[in-house]
């Protein structure tokens, strides 16, 4: 079975995406795994619009409502030992009900903690990171490329992360 990328999207959006002119930058960066997974530290990054309630602001839904073709490019930091009840979701393009009930479907912190306990992977970085996947229409990724992506990269490197699992919204 090959996954259909457009299964949950309208035919109009499918057509638009298929006609989008995206030039793939080659070569694709590639960092081969340097050591066995049981020795690797993992970082988790999602574009699900998660944030740590009471500690950080939600993504800027107010501006997006005012300027619908704009999406907040910033990121949020979530300690992996936080209380799951403190996870908020601010992402106007997904149904967040189930993610609020179980954050693991967007940011699998608890599943990873189990896998670490089993010894399948070495450890989990102390912080996970969340972006909000809607970056405007047409999409403008300059904030991710130029500012916020490099900032999260540096934070992951500071925690000596070897591998990153990214999950989309």
């Amino acid at each position: 079975m090959e996954v259909d990328s457009f299964r949950y999207l309208s035919p109009l959006i499918k057509r638009y995406y298929q006609l989008s002119q995206i030039r793939k930058e080659l070569p694709i960066p590639f960092a081969p795994l340097r050591k066995p997974l049981p020795q690797c530290r993992f970082g988790l990054v999602t574009s699900g619009g998660l944030y740590h309630k009471g500690h950080e602001r939600p993504f800027d839904e107010v501006r997006e409502r005012r300027e619908p073709s704009w999406g907040d490019p910033s990121y949020r930091t979530l300690p992996v030992d936080m209380d799951p009840a403190e996870v908020g979701v601010s992402h106007l393009h997904i149904n967040a009900r189930d993610a609020l009930a179980d954050m693991n479907i967007l940011l699998p912190i608890q599943r990873f903690q189990e896998i670490v306990a089993e010894g399948r992977v070495g450890s989990l970085a102390r912080h996970a990171y969340s972006f909000m996947g809607y970056q405007g229409f047409p999409s403008d990724l300059s904030g991710w490329r130029g500012v916020h992506g490099p900032a999260v990269r540096d934070a992951l490197l500071a925690e000596q992360v070897d591998c990153v699992l990214l999950s989309t919204a």
């Binding site: 259909d4 990328s5 057509r15 997904i94 189930d98 479907i105 990269r153 591998c163």
Partner: protein, 118 residues
Amino acid sequence: MPVLARIFEAAGMSTVTVTNMPFWSDRVGAPRTLAVEFPFGHILGQAHNPELQRRVILQALAVLEGSACPGAIVHFQEPWPEPLEAARRASHPETPPPIAAHMGRHIGKLLMGMRRGG
């Protein structure tokens, strides 16, 4: 997400992206991808179904271990365990996003421009 994966990978970290849109992984050039045909907002599985979430994660780890060259896209073989209509409802917000009201006009204009541009 493929853009972020590329930034992390270029700094020496090995990445795997789990997504329901492998189309973008291919277009942008994600280093490694596990594609799932799951609704938006549910990329790692159903809420309170840790077994399914775990199977997705373990396969993502296998992609990380097993990819010898950049651009691998592996397709998770389990279908979403609910009927399509229920999955579509789970996928979309109850209130359409602000751009929805403008999207048809935007896309129409953009498609016209693309056609004119050849």
